[in-house]
Subunit: 355 residues, 2 copies
């Protein structure tokens, strides 16, 4: 048995992978795969409509919001957001890691960016307290990254602010209950918790979206995609199909509430093992620890390399920390089963005894 | 047996679909699918490098060119090209159909667009003769659409011009031999002749690319993707894997030269049946007929609807013409086997006799 702790693209639910495999070359008796079907066909129309409907049900998304399936990853959203909504205007960004920082960098091409808070001073090992953020009076929006994949931090509460709130939730969307109405825009590259890479899910308030800049290139305008229900041009059809299957699997397994409980148990199990003594240590401020990406260190880089190598022989893979920080990182998204986390915890105990 | 004549997303080679299915949940003994592997993993690194190598071999692409795997479809290229290379400059566009026209429309947001020729006057049923194009003296580039999916026309020779030549080859790349060195940029949405939707292949001359506009959003700069070998952010990994398999299949089946011969036979067979008498008619100027998208009409829309419905009962699907023009369209890309075209021709004969 292999357990894949990759940060993304990441493990997908086993039942989803098996279903997609079974109908890969013959989708529901069509005689060919859904990958080979026209994006205007009745079969794919049902796929994309169902994927959207399931996401709406999972996250309780009202009709005030559009749910879009776009391309280009969160990195494209970094540019589209200021391009659509804040050209020449002031925007607030909270800098909690590499991705926040890249988002702010793109915004600087179009907007007056105020970095309202940053934890760069301590290598992003904590999240600046919301009460201390230096917010602008006239921000067009406030941008945050809800979970920082590389550094293993996660917002467990969200700011209550006047400015429209925009969140990059690439690495924790669908992992916990969420009040969508608190946000103007939520966006997420699918490849961590929703599906394969190549699709970006955007949940956007329609009133907010209506304020977009005029004369944008069609593909870079949210309005285009809202008007055409993500079918302005050929969308990444197979990725959307996979998202639909993942959403169906979540609904069949108790939805987001059940998933959140499991995610809390998985992360609790792993952090408890890390905290058991000084053999393992977690670089992240305890109150800000992520339930999705659990980062930890051993005494030396050599011991960490030995841990990673030996874990691999036990079928525990994808544990190497991001190249910018090193150490160990276990990404334990929705699709990582509890037995996978338990196998890692068991190995951690064994490795401690032997080293 | 089902034969899928969809214009795109379109049929993929049967052998490719079966291979992808076989290793969908366990890629080469990895214990999980390539879709679930990190884009920085050795496994995916080999996938993307091999896909690029195979495309270079198939099209004889020199090191003067970068081969990129991007997102957003041809529609995103429509904007990226003028944004990168022609802000405030003059560009020539040849208008041979809906896609050419959309490309020019996006360019107008950034550039002074000269429509050098157009066949809109006769509903795009022909291609304006190259000798008659009204080219600018100082065009930063000349843009053409090599094959017009909706109207069934295709350039069988390319213009020899001073300006850098850019071609949207979404619907005929890899279908025929090509002298890459004649082009500054070739781009193609993958979903017709290369792989699934969600990946755009861009072949770009590096010297030309070096002239790009400064201070572009990272994802909208060709330079970003050239510098990072298409791995600036998470690419559409599964789509790239599929492209690699398709390219491998093409190489194993004689490469582009063999494919061109087969494509000529397939199209020849179909046009011969259309031309046999007046029961079927082809709206396209004979010299400009596409080898990829064969458009034809019957006497009335009612008869066309009956043709499409009856064809479907015989396993011949995806034959409805684009909603903007109606009629019948058989898309016969590389992956459509000769027996599939023969089955369609047999049905056409039968339908003629019975109606």
């Amino acid at each position: 048995m292999t357990y894949n702790f990759s940060a993304g693209p990441a493990v997908l639910p086993k039942a989803v992978m098996e279903k997609a495999q079974a109908e890969f070359t013959d989708y529901q008796g069509l005689g060919y795969g859904i990958m080979e079907a026209s994006h205007r066909s009745p079969e794919f129309t049902a796929v994309i409509e169902t994927a959207e409907k399931n996401l709406r049900e999972l996250l309780n998304i009202s009709d005030d919001y559009a749910v879009l399936f776009l391309q280009g990853g969160a990195s494209t959203q970094f540019a589209m957001l200021p391009m659509n909504f804040a050209q020449g205007k002031t925007v607030d960004y909270v800098d909690t890691g590499s991705w926040s920082s890249k988002a702010a960098k793109e915004a600087k091409l179009f907007s007056n960016v105020n970095v309202a808070a940053s934890s760069k001073d301590e290598n992003y090992s904590y999240l600046p307290a919301i009460a201390d953020w230096n917010l602008s009076d006239d921000a067009t929006y406030l941008h945050i990254t809800s979970n920082n994949t590389i550094f293993g931090t996660q917002f467990h509460e969200f700011p209550q602010v006047d400015a429209p709130l925009i969140a990059d939730m690439s690495s924790d969307i669908l992992s916990r209950e969420l009040d969508i109405d608190k946000f103007a825009v939520i966006y997420a590259g699918a490849q961590k918790n929703i599906g394969p890479s190549g699709v970006t899910v955007v949940i956007i308030n329609k009133d907010f979206a209506a304020k977009e800049q005029e004369n944008l290139p069609a593909m870079l305008s949210y309005g285009t995609h809202i008007d055409k229900d993500s079918l302005y041009n050929t969308p990444p059809t197979f990725g959307i199909y996979m998202i639909g299957l993942v959403a169906e699997w979540l609904l069949a397994n108790g939805g987001i509430k059940a998933m959140q409980e499991i995610n809390e148990r998985k992360a609790g199990n792993l952090y408890a093992e890390i905290d058991a003594d000084d053999f393992y240590s977690c670089p992240t401020n305890e109150a800000n620890r992520s339930l999705m990406n659990v980062c930890f260190n051993l005494a030396t880089p050599e011991l960490e390399a030995a841990f990673i190598a030996e874990a691999k022989t036990k079928g525990l893979v994808g544990l190497k920390g991001h190249r910018s920080v090193g150490g160990i990182r276990a990404s334990i998204y929705n699709a990582m089963p509890e037995v996978g986390v338990q196998a890692l915890v068991d190995f951690m105990k064994e490795f401690r005894v032997n080293n």
